[in-house]
């Protein structure tokens, strides 16, 4: 009974936060809600928009789950996502635009692989600094985000710039070299499927594999892990590198599925927004699918609100932040109530 009540509490709470946010920003309530809903789920185009926005957030969210479960606060999803995209675009410059004639079924996975490796490298830097020098991951990953943004800005107007050298963008991938789409009119691409599969894999890895168990144990209690002679540093390092790999992969999915090219606005905070996805998903890979879908729907729906307000995505950040704050404080409150009642 109590369990059902808790599950019901979620949608009610989220709806309440949504309504309050709309009211605070003085938007017409009923009409805004209608527009949000139709923008996100109204027709097949709405669903397509929602799913396409869900997938990069889901993958970075899964990356955050692995790192945070492993007791390492990766806040650098943004940087890892960007460096992933950079590595993918760099490989594309050789394979697609460099005159090497390779079939798409080979090129696309290779580019995606490059993205994953790029994210891994960027995360490895932070992990190594933590293990070797004790630099707090929270700070180092955030600082590396800003470095990655500038690196991207330099590369798209320098070495990776498109052939005509006019605008700060990389060359645009031909359609044949991008992830397959369901139909020509919609953005819906195979990356959505990949994201779902990755969620399943991350679940199996964390809860059904030895390596995943070690990562969780280290995150739960370093003392216990040491008592069992686990190599704590190695476990944390692998957690953040895997996390970075997923964030890089998210960059790759966006590059190969949606944008087809890199510009300074390549990342719409997708890397950073993995954190609210992971937190609201209770750091569980399968619940993250729902939380990513929720935020994806909000982003897709908020495009429809442009008629009333120019705030757009910023409004979604507000809803995300309040949802996460409410959720974590609810959890903390429930967690300590037995103690309070006992005393």
């Amino acid at each position: 009974m109590r369990r059902t009540a808790q599950v019901l509490l979620f949608p009610i709470g989220i709806l309440l936060i949504l309504v309050l946010t709309l009211l605070v920003f003085r938007l017409p309530l009923v009409e805004s809600l209608k527009l949000l809903a139709s923008g996100a789920f109204g027709d097949k185009f709405g669903w397509s928009r929602t799913l396409v926005k869900t997938s990069p957030m889901l993958i970075t969210g899964l990356g955050m789950v692995i790192a945070w479960k492993g007791g390492i606060y990766n806040i650098g999803g943004e940087g890892q996502y960007i460096v992933g995209g950079i590595c993918g675009a760099a490989l594309a410059k050789i394979l697609v635009f460099g005159g090497v004639a390779l079939p798409p079924w080979l090129v696309i996975p290779l580019i995606l692989m490059a993205c994953i490796i790029g994210g891994m490298i960027w995360a490895f830097v932070a992990g190594l600094l933590y293990v070797k020098r004790g630099v707090e991951v929270v700070i180092s990953t955030i600082l590396l985000n800003f470095v990655a943004i500038q690196l991207l800005s330099y590369l798209v107007s320098g070495p990776l710039q498109e052939k005509k050298k006019q605008v700060p963008l990389t060359d645009s991938l031909p359609d044949g070299m991008m992830l397959p789409k369901l139909s020509r009119q919609m953005d819906l691409h195979a990356g959505v499927l990949i994201a779902l599969i990755v969620a399943g894999i991350v679940y199996l890895f964390l809860f059904r594999s030895n390596a995943g168990y070690q990562i969780r144990l280290v995150g739960e209690s370093i003392r216990m892990a040491r008592a069992n002679r686990l190599n704590v540093n190695r476990s944390k390092l692998s957690a953040i590198v895997l996390s970075g790999g997923l964030c890089g992969m998210a960059g790759g999915i966006e590059y190969l599925g949606m944008s087809g090219q890199l510009g300074t606005g390549f990342s719409q905070q997708w890397g950073f927004l993995g954190i609210p996805v992971a937190l609201l998903g209770g750091l569980h890979p399968l619940w993250c699918i729902l939380s990513a879908l929720l935020f994806g729907a909000l982003f897709a729906g908020s495009e429809n609100l442009a008629r009333f307000t120019t705030s757009g995505s910023a409004l979604v950040y507000v809803i995300q932040a309040i949802t996460v704050l409410t959720y974590v404080s609810y959890r903390a409150y429930m967690d300590r109530r037995p103690y309070l009642e006992a005393s």
């Binding site: 700070i139 600082l143 937190l279 507000v318 974590v328 959890r331």
Partner: protein
């Protein structure tokens, strides 16, 4: 370079990190300092824009930062939610609220926005002066007063502080309040003194750099201030490097403060100076 202008470049990071010293000494790591600065910069600008008084702007800036810091305090201290989680979420909240209000009121660029700035005398404005006064003041508070001793006890060994009759929760909230005031001054400095305007996410990670400088400055106000000066110098280079004739991409110069912050953390490492209970929530019932 003139010393005054070096101080001006350093001021946002210096002010934020001076406040963060007090917060971290009490055993709390306030990642949300970035969001508090951003809220201060925005609401300072908004109040100044509406009332044409930079002084009311300054008040609004401090108020905004304090409110956001107290939200952090209530969740992270009273409810004992993980400090990094709450800090990250309040940052996102601030980014969202300031972004949404700014776009609503001034359009997505707000390029014509210009507000009266806080008056200065030979480059010295009241915020800058308060920054200089704060260095010995915070040093004195932390090392020479009973309150400072209690704060440090909260950061080293909260159970001990509690046993000595202090309320750890109350002291940590007081520290966060002070941190909030300084984050407010730092944010106000950006919008009301340097820019005379506002741009989305204009703090650009200075709050995080400030946290790095607290570590590099070994939690001592005087050293933390010197570290902030170094960042200020690195930041000033992005406006000067071309006149020096350096042929490097400008993006490298923008990234320089972050790279410097990262490098100094690598150099000092973890060390043994950090407060013993840093980032650990304190719960009476556990």
């Amino acid at each position: 370079m003139e010393f005054v202008s070096l101080l001006q470049y350093s001021a946002p990071v210096a002010l934020a990190s001076l406040g963060e010293v007090v917060v971290q000494k009490s055993g709390v790591i306030h990642i949300g300092i970035e969001g508090s600065m951003l809220a201060a910069a925005f609401f300072g600008m908004l109040a100044c824009y509406s009332t044409h008084s930079p002084w009311l702007g300054l008040g609004a800036a401090i108020l905004a930062a304090v409110v956001l810091s107290l939200i952090f305090g209530v969740l992270a201290i009273l409810l004992a939610v993980d400090q990094v989680v709450v800090g990250t979420a309040t940052n996102l909240l601030s980014l969202g609220v300031t972004g949404a209000l700014f776009r609503n009121k001034f359009g997505s660029t707000g390029q014509l926005l210009s507000i009266p700035r806080i008056p200065a005398f030979h480059g010295f404005d009241p915020i800058l002066i308060s920054m200089i006064v704060s260095i010995p003041l915070i040093w004195f508070l932390l090392t020479k007063t009973g309150w400072g001793l209690a704060i440090r006890a909260c950061g080293e060994y909260p159970k001990g502080a509690e046993a000595a009759g202090f309320s750890v929760l109350k002291l940590r909230l007081q520290a966060i309040l002070i941190g909030g005031i300084y984050a407010g001054l730092a944010g106000a400095y950006l919008s009301l003194v340097i820019a005379g305007s506002f741009a989305e996410n204009m703090t650009a990670g200075r709050g995080f750099v400030a946290i790095a400088m607290v570590t590099f400055g070994r939690w001592k106000p005087q050293f933390v201030f010197l570290s902030a000066l170094m960042i200020g110098y690195a930041e000033s280079l992005q406006y000067k490097f071309q006149t020096y004739g350096w042929n490097v991409p400008y993006q490298l110069m923008i990234a320089l403060p972050y790279i410097v912050a990262l490098l100094v953390l690598v150099i000092v490492g973890r060390g043994s100076m950090a407060p013993g209970a840093l980032a650990q929530a304190y719960r009476k019932d556990k």
